[in-house]
Amino acid sequence: MTEPLLRVTGVAKRFGRVVTARDVSFELSAGEALGLVGPNGAGKTTLLDVVAGTLRADAGTVTLDGQDVTRLGAAARADRGVARSYQVPRPFGRLTVFENVLVGASFAGRRPGGGGAPGGRADGAGPAGDARDRAWHALAVTDLTGAANTPSGSLRLLDRKRLEVARALATGPRLLLLDEIAGGLTDRELPQVVGLVRRLRDDGVAVVWIEHVLHALLDVVDRLLCLAAGEVIAQGDPHEVIRSPQVVEVYLGSTVDSVPDSVPGEPA
């Protein structure tokens, strides 16, 4: 059997007494999409941080293509094809939208032999080649071309979220980590995001997607992983996971704002 693209084994992370990850393990292959759900404070974003290298795990390992990257920082992992969006957008405020995306297209996209990465460079632009083409393409698929020359600091929240995705796409990722990109979207915009994620996955990108808009998630993910208090309480087939007693209990026992639109047990 071939090595999965991403393998997370026994990851643990705590901040003082607060445990945000405890013995978390999962795998993800190229062309697979994993949904990450759980109540607020369950440790979803922390897990993304550990995979992206923004945070170092206290214990456990992260491997990419069988290569141990646990000790590598975020930039080195970006060089190996990991890209992410931030839940609270972090635009380069004094740069324009285009320049923001150009940063993504100019650095991580330069790793040697990375030309085979699908998704962001499905247009065939080589790794050292046209960063500008890749940047523009990323703006096009996120519907941001009209704002290309706008200083990103003056964007409204929704466009900042799009910019997060555009920047990540411009790197030409093999593993894309998305942190709540659908919240606040209209019924017209939601299918676009779902379509985009599905197309990336079909192009061979591995996707981990944290999302509270559950019906959007269920439309595209192959598997679902539910976290609560830093522990994996269920993972596997999406519809089985959201119907499992532990998950239902966690959701009903949590605050109202984290209960998804579509009630668990009644998938769309």
Partner: protein, 343 residues
């Protein structure tokens, strides 16, 4: 609320659209660049023959101020590092010049360049120390480091202790020849530093640096090597300060620890960059000319000079928060480092 139809694969273009033209600068930068070239030619070929030796020496100070402002802007405006301790490298540059020219016997031009190198070599290990600090702590920490540099310099035997050193390499050289040499050399060095900074900021590395300035965490997620980028800026900026310090010592024929390591150098850099326009190549040029002109005009007024300087700084910060160049930067760039898409 009913679940919307989420099966449509809408709005994702099948074929990527053609990238429109991306421009960097326009007619403004051609005209502005032409004017600047003309100014440099005038400074090189005409000014030395029509002004006094005293005026030439004071122009050397202007060129040193441009180098100081440009390199501090590199640190604070592009690297996001607000250092209050760049006088450490001004001092190192001054002392290194005199030691290299007098004790080692290097020709003055080579001694200046080597003094810049000494600044870079000292900045590298220092960066590992000060990079442990962030924000305000970085500012104070760099100031402390500068004081340590000054105190250590005074303790080293052969560096003149508290009274400093004077430069003897020009002994026997005609005064006119000396001032003319220092003037042209300083002019060339200033042009090289400004052009070098521009080319750096226009490059891919420069794009990464502005990303680091705006958001370090996001920059690293996109593959920008944050620590290496900041280190490059700190070392280059410190080398620039050392070059300026060497020029100042070369022009004034000596150093004292109290003046060459003075925090006033950094105060001048901050004035030049903040009043001129932070984060632009042109801003420090404007700021340096203004600072120098005020210095020249107000020198007879004694302490009032500082009061006026402070008043100007307050007025600019209130009325033009992006500095004087910031008033035009949106429409006009002489040194375009930004990208504009023609939609």
């Amino acid at each position: 609320m009913s679940a919307p139809n989420t099966t449509a694969d809408a709005a994702v273009p099948a074929a990527p659209p053609a990238t429109p033209t991306v421009t960097r600068g326009g007619r403004g930068s051609v005209v502005g660049g032409g004017v600047l070239v003309l100014v440099v030619v005038l400074l090189a070929a005409v000014v030395p023959y029509v002004v006094t030796l005293g005026a030439l020496s004071s122009l050397v100070m202007l060129f040193a101020l441009v180098i100081l402002g440009t390199t501090w802007n590199l640190l604070a405006g592009y690297g996001g590092m607000v250092s209050v301790g760049q006088q450490a490298y001004v001092g190192v540059g001054g002392y290194a010049l005199i030691q290299l020219a007098d004790a080692v016997g290097a020709p003055p031009w080579a001694a200046v360049l080597a003094a810049g190198l000494v600044g870079a070599v000292l900045a590298l290990p220092t960066s590992y120390l000060v990079f442990r600090l962030a924000g305000g702590y970085f500012a104070i920490g760099t100031w402390v480091v500068a004081e340590v540099f000054r105190l250590v310099t005074m303790q080293i035997g052969g560096l003149g202790g508290g009274s400093g050193l004077s430069l003897s390499a020009f002994r026997g050289t005609d005064r006119v020849d000396r001032v003319a040499f220092v003037y042209w050399f300083a002019l060339a060095l200033m042009v090289a530093v400004v052009l070098g900074t521009y080319l750096l900021m226009r490059s891919r590395v420069g794009l990464g640096l502005t990303a680091i300035r705006d958001d370090r965490v996001a920059a690293s997620s996109l593959g920008v090597a944050v620590d290496r980028g900041r280190r490059i800026v700190y070392v280059a900026g410190s080398a620039g300060a050392a070059l300026a310090g060497a020029l100042i010592a070369l022009s004034t024929l000596g150093v004292t620890p109290g003046s060459i390591y003075s925090v006033n150098w950094t105060a001048a850099m901050i004035f030049i960059v903040v009043v001129g326009g932070i984060g632009t190549i042109e801003g420090p040029l404007v700021g340096a000319v203004l600072y120098w002109a005020l210095q020249q005009a107000l020198a007879p007024l004694g302490t009032w000079y500082l009061v006026v300087l402070g008043g100007v700084a307050v007025a600019v910060v209130l009325l033009a928060p992006r500095g004087l160049w910031g008033l035009v930067a949106g429409r006009f760039q002489i040194f375009p480092t930004t990208y504009r898409v023609r939609i």
